[in-house]
């Protein structure tokens, strides 16, 4: 079965999110007074053909470890949906 796996990547706590800060300043300058903070991350989708949703998750985790995520600065979470 084909699964769509959504991978959400963000910078770890304590790593300077300079893009988030720039967007934050722009929004604040536009008058969004309720704004307290912005973080910018990445959203990647992969489609995998596996026997189960659990296997799809494991495949995606391997892709994160191999390439998609730099564990020195980033962290990620995964959502799996059957197509």
């Amino acid at each position: 079965m084909t699964y769509r796996v959504s991978i959400f990547i963000e910078l770890q706590e304590g790593v300077l999110d300079i893009q988030g800060k720039a967007v934050e300043r722009s929004l604040a300058g536009m008058g969004h007074d309720a704004l307290r903070s912005v973080k910018v991350g990445k959203y990647i989708q992969v489609w995998v053909e596996t026997g189960s949703a659990e296997d799809a998750r494991k495949e995606a985790e391997r892709m994160c470890d191999d390439l998609l995520v730099n564990s020195v600065i980033e962290q990620f979470r995964i959502e799996v949906e059957g197509e």
Partner: protein, 234 residues
């Protein structure tokens, strides 16, 4: 000393660095395409050049670090062979975990392209042996992602073992925040691994290797490498 310059799709300093090494040292320099799986057998020195490998997509250097040739490059480094990463090459070395830390977008989010003063922090590396400690040199920088970062404890460990080789400074060698072009931790511009044979730096010594292009401090850098190699037979 035979030099191999690895060329990735999007490398754009490969010709410059080949010209600088050949011009400064008169030694043999070859280009090696990233899809190769082995280095030429007599390779002594490997350079990962600057550029925008794989369009800087995903993260700078991330995909180049997984190119077929990188297994042989890592093996060369593990055996103690001389390995240098300049700019995008430095990013590839951190992405390969051959050097600690990571390079993030500059704190100003600007691409910074200008001459830069650097203070030489260590002369006990094969890359800097002909400089004097504390000497100020000028190499240009040209990068959008040069903010060097690593977790606090690892930063301390790196500093304690003398792993910082170049620091951004002013012309007097002062390393204040105003001399920091990208927000790097402790003004770090270049670091070396524990064994001392793998160096990564953001500035471009190959662009400071002849008077025509604005300076010759880079020649001393190349000459250090050749002399260390000749003496040590690395």
């Amino acid at each position: 000393m035979n030099t191999a310059v690895i060329v990735f799709p999007g490398s754009n300093c490969d010709q410059d660095v080949m010209h600088a090494v050949a011009g400064s040292l008169g030694t043999k320099v070859r280009a090696v395409w990233h899809k190769e799986t082995t280095l030429p057998e007599d390779t002594d020195f490997v350079i990962l050049p600057g550029g925008f490998s794989f369009g800087d997509y995903l993260r700078c250097g991330a995909m180049a670090a997984r190119s077929p040739i990188m297994k042989a490059v890592a093996e060369h480094g593990r055996r103690g062979g001389l390995l240098l990463g300049i700019c995008n090459g430095f990013q590839i070395l951190t992405e390969s975990r051959l050097l600690p830390g990571a390079l993030l977008p500059n704190r100003t989010l600007n691409f910074v392209c200008r001459p830069c003063f650097l203070r030489v922090e260590s002369v006990s590396t094969p890359f800097t042996s002909l400089f004097s400690k504390g000497q100020v040199v000028q190499f240009p920088i040209a990068h959008g992602d040069g903010l060097y970062t690593l977790p606090e404890e690892e930063l301390k460990a790196l500093e304690d073992r003398g792993g910082v080789v170049f620091r951004y400074s002013d012309s007097d060698g002062l390393t204040g925040d105003n001399a920091n072009p990208n927000g790097s931790a402790n003004n770090i511009a270049g670091i070396v691994n524990e064994r001392g044979n793998i160096l990564g730096l953001m500035p471009h010594p190959e662009r400071a290797s002849e008077a025509l292009t604005g300076g010759e401090d880079g020649r001393v850098f190349w000459q250090s490498i050749l002399e260390s190699f000749t003496k040590g037979g690395r």
